[in-house]
C-alpha cells in the first residue's frame, strides 16, 4: 500500500489532542511557579534581609530541593502527567529528570548504576550549555579584545 495513503488512513482514526485546554493548564502552572518564586524571593529579602542575588539563589535552591523530594516520594510524576510543560520547562524539570534518572540505577550501585543514570535525560542539555558558552566566549573575545 502507498505510504502516504496509509498515513492518511491512520490519521483519520487518531484521537484529537485538546491543545488549547492542555496549553492553558501548562501556562497557568508555569506562571504560578514563576509568580510564587518571585513572591518567595521578596519574602526572603524582607524576613532574612538577604540581598537581591542571594534571595534568587535561595529560591532556586528551594525549587530544586522541593522537586527532588517530591520526585523521590513518587508524587511529582503524577503532577507532570496533568500539567506537562508547566512543570518541565522551569528548573523543576531539570531537577526531576536528574532525580528520576538516579532512582533507576539504585540496584546496580553508585558507580555504575546511580551516577551514570543521573544524567541520562539531561546530558544533551549540559553538553549544549557547555558548547554554547565556549562558542560565545570565543565570539566575545573577538568582539571585546
Amino acid at each position: 500500500m502507498d505510504k502516504i495513503y496509509y498515513q492518511e488512513l491512520v490519521n483519520k482514526y487518531m484521537p484529537k489532542v485538546p491543545k488549547i485546554k492542555k496549553g492553558l493548564k501548562a501556562f497557568l502552572c508555569g506562571g504560578l511557579i514563576g509568580a510564587s518564586s518571585e513572591l518567595l524571593a521578596r519574602l526572603l529579602q524582607i524576613i532574612f534581609k538577604m540581598s537581591l542575588n542571594n534571595s534568587y539563589l535561595w529560591v532556586g535552591i528551594i525549587l530544586v530541593l522541593g522537586t527532588a523530594i517530591l520526585t523521590g516520594l513518587g508524587i511529582f510524576d503524577n503532577l507532570v502527567k496533568t500539567y506537562e510543560a508547566g512543570l518541565i520547562i522551569p528548573t523543576t524539570g531539570f531537577s526531576h529528570s536528574v532525580i528520576s534518572g538516579s532512582m533507576d540505577g539504585h540496584k546496580e550501585g553508585v558507580i555504575i548504576g546511580i551516577a551514570p543514570s543521573m544524567f541520562k535525560l539531561c546530558a544533551s542539555v549540559i553538553v549544549s550549555g557547555v558548547a554554547a558558552s565556549f562558542i560565545l566566549s570565543i565570539i566575545g573575545w573577538f568582539i571585546y579584545a
Binding site: L9, F76, K81, L87, S97, I99
Partner: protein
Amino acid sequence: MLSKKVNNVYLHQNYGIAGKNENNHVLKDINFLKDFYGGEDSVETCEIKMNEIVLENLINDHTNLVIGGNLDNQLTGVSYALKNRNLAYLGIYNACATFTEGLIIGSKFCSKKDLIVLTSSHNLISERQFKYPIEYGSPNKDYATFTTTGSIGVILSNRPSNIRLECYTIGDVIDYEVYDASNMGAVMAPGAYHTIIKHLKDFKRDITYYDLILTGDLGKYGLMILKELLKKDNITTSNIIDAGSLLYPLDDDKAGGSGPVCLPLILFKKVLFNKKYQRILLVGTGALHSKVLVDQHLPIPTIAHAVAIEVIE
C-alpha cells in the same frame, strides 16, 4: 507465510498472575500483585518471581519442555525462572506475538508428556527499556498503549482435552513505514491484516467460519485501522475483538494494553469462560523494533501469527 493443519495437540491447564493495574474486574480466576515490585528489590527480579509462581503451579512429573519468551533484553525474565529445574528450555522472541509463536513451535514438539508455553511482561521494564526512567513523568500520547504486567503459561499435550489446536499461519515481516514508536496500533494493524487474509485464503475459509477473532494488542485505534483495511477486501465483520483494548475499560488515557500477555490473559481468563465461542482465531501481533533503530529513524516492522483453536464440548 506458512500455513499448516495440526493433529493431536490439545490445550490443558493454564495459570496466570497479573499486576496491580489489571485488578479491575475484567479477568476472572487469577491472582494479582499488590504493587509493581511484588516484594522484590527490583522490577527485573519481580518479573522472574512472577514466572516462578506460574511455573510452580504448572510443572508436574510429566513436564519435559518449556518454550517461553518475554519483552526484556535477552529474555532474562523467563530464563532465570527456569534455573535448576531439570527442564529443557527454548527461548523465543517475537515481541507481543510471542505467545502465538510459542503455540506454533509447541505444536511441533508436542508429545504425550506436558509442554509449557510461557510468556510474561512487566510495565516498568518496558518503560525503562523503550522510553524513559521509571519515576519520570513523561506525558503519554492518547493513542499510546500501556504494557501489561503479568505472566501466564499453558500446557500443551497429545492427551485429549476440550480445547484443540486446529491449524496455524506463520506470518511474515511487514513494513508500512510507520516511524512513531508510541503508535503501536498503526504499526501492527497491517501485519494482522496480511496474516488474516492469507490464513482465510490458505484454508479456503470465510471470515464467518470463526465465532471470534481475537487480536493481541492493537488497542482501540489499531483495531479501527484493521477493520478499515479488511473493508478494502470486502471483509466486514463484527466478531473481531482486541484483547489489549479490553484490559483497562476505566482508563481514558490508555488506548489499551500491550505486551505478549494481553492475548493469553484475555483468552484464558475471560473469553473461554463464555461458552458461546467455539471456533476462535488468535492473531498475535508484534512490533519488531528496538530503541536504537527507532532513534536512527528507521521505520518499525511488524509480524502477526494466526492460531485457530476449537472448543469441543
